[in-house]
Amino acid sequence: MSERVLQILIQAFPKILIPCIKVTIPLTICSFILGLILALFLAIVQIANIRGLKQFARFYIWIFRGTPLLVQLFIVFFGLPSLGIMLDAFPSAVIAFSLNLAAYNAEVIRSAILAVPAGQTEAALMVGLSYPQLMAKIVLPQAGRIAFPPLFNSLIGLTKDTSLASSITLIEMFSVAQQVAARYYEPFALYCEAAVIYLLICTLLTWLQATVEKKLTWVKPVETEEENAQNITD
């Protein structure tokens, strides 16, 4: 690698990193949390079989899984103004990403809830718990454990998908990389640099996932080998 390219990469690094921290990461977090809340709602109304809302959830999921994310972004940012709804690029992106993600994560959460053995729900009813109580105390904690890896999957996917927001004029990490690449005529090196930063974030997330997953087991830590042996034998 030439000296010049190295210089450019070093100079460009903070330029790309700043919008990453200021825009890409907040965009990811906001969209993910809002999308998760909506997904939980869409999943629960289906499981609880609430008439009207259940049909709405199926319809919603059909629409948002069946149309491209990029098109959804364009509809929110370029399309809504013609209906008199003008939004800045950042809120537009949050809306489009969270609405889209909710459709996918609703299915993840719904299947995770269904994966909690129905016998536990019946046992909970028989000790006198109400439906909301048993959902909160028994079913959702276990569904959360089951849904955790696929939800993290979608978080990692979202982190990278936020680059699509560059197409609706949002100044985020990828659009800055594009500007810098155009200015220095070094697209290969600079796009690779941007890719590496995405990769670093996702590596961090992967590590976080593994760490949290280890903690999410319902097993009493066994202190000594002796105790362990005893647990198994008796």
Binding site: P117, G119, Q120, E122, A123, A124, L125, M126, V127, G128, L129, S130, Q133, K137, I138, P141, Q142, R145, W218, V219, K220, N231
Partner: protein
């Protein structure tokens, strides 16, 4: 105390309960016998509203109503007075043994946690699981899990506990430890309805025996009547078959 009259239940076209009359008095231990598919599980599940009945009447203390017309609120009230022990234990996997036994008191009945804990520990002691109070279900053997499940059912001080083949998912060595706990409860005067294939238990512990076949109660009587002098030919045939198995298995 608890009674259902003329209970009917079909799954699609399959009529599983065809007018069952069933009654439990306080302090009784009732064994429900019958071959596979005779509707024993369905009967317990209809009584506890885990299954919607098609027709019948339910009477529980001074509550009396057409079973299809009982509201959700009333169902919850009736369940508060029952306990249920499942064939598959169904302990809450995200809770320790102690928490499993406490939750019906703390969450469902809003009993203060210190009081609930004292009761729960007492129940765990009764089933011999005190030393495993802080273990999660995955760390317990089947027999241990079922004993915790029994403690869970007792902790809310129900008027009657319904057992659906509590030992049939267990290895023979583990069956004994669960049956011993149930014998102890029976001696203490706990009202119990036990669906079982354990003839020894039915003979020894139950004071009342109900024999079901084809979705109806064919015969019932005291344990002695049924085992020494069954009147109905179907009961006789069933006992001949199962008791000979039982003798061989010893």
């Amino acid at each position: 105390m608890l009674e259902v009259k003329n209970l009917h239940k079909s799954f699609d076209k399959n009529e599983v309960l065809r007018g069952v009359d069933f009654k439990v008095e306080k302090g009784e231990v009732i064994a429900v016998l019958g071959s596979s598919g005779s509707g024993k599980t369905t009967l317990l599940r209809c009584i506890s509203f885990l299954e919607k009945s098609d027709q019948g009447e339910i009477i529980f203390d001074d509550f009396r109503k057409e079973i299809t017309k009982v509201t959700n609120k009333e169902i919850r009230g009736l369940r508060m007075k029952m306990g249920f022990v499942f064939q598959g234990y169904h302990l809450f996997r995200n809770k320790t043994a102690l928490e499993n036994v406490m939750i019906g008191q703390t969450v469902a009945r809003k009993i203060p946690s210190t009081e609930a804990k004292a009761t729960a520990l007492q129940m765990l002691e009764k089933v011999g699981m005190l030393n495993r109070a802080n273990y999660y279900p995955d760390q317990l053997s089947g027999g241990q899990q079922q004993r915790v499940a029994i403690a869970r059912a007792m902790a809310t001080n129900p008027e009657v506990i319904l057992f659906d083949e509590p030992t049939s998912a267990l290895d023979p060595e583990l069956t004994g430890e669960v049956l011993d706990v149930m014998k102890k409860l029976a001696k203490e005067g706990t009202t119990m309805v036990v669906v079982t294939h354990e003839m020894g238990f039915a003979q020894e512990v139950a004071n009342h025996v109900v024999y079901m076949e084809g979705g109806i109660v064919v015969e019932e009587g005291t344990s002695k009547e049924i085992f020494t002098n069954p009147k109905d030919e179907r009961t006789r045939r069933f006992l001949r078959r199962t008791l000979s198995d039982y003798d061989y298995s010893i």
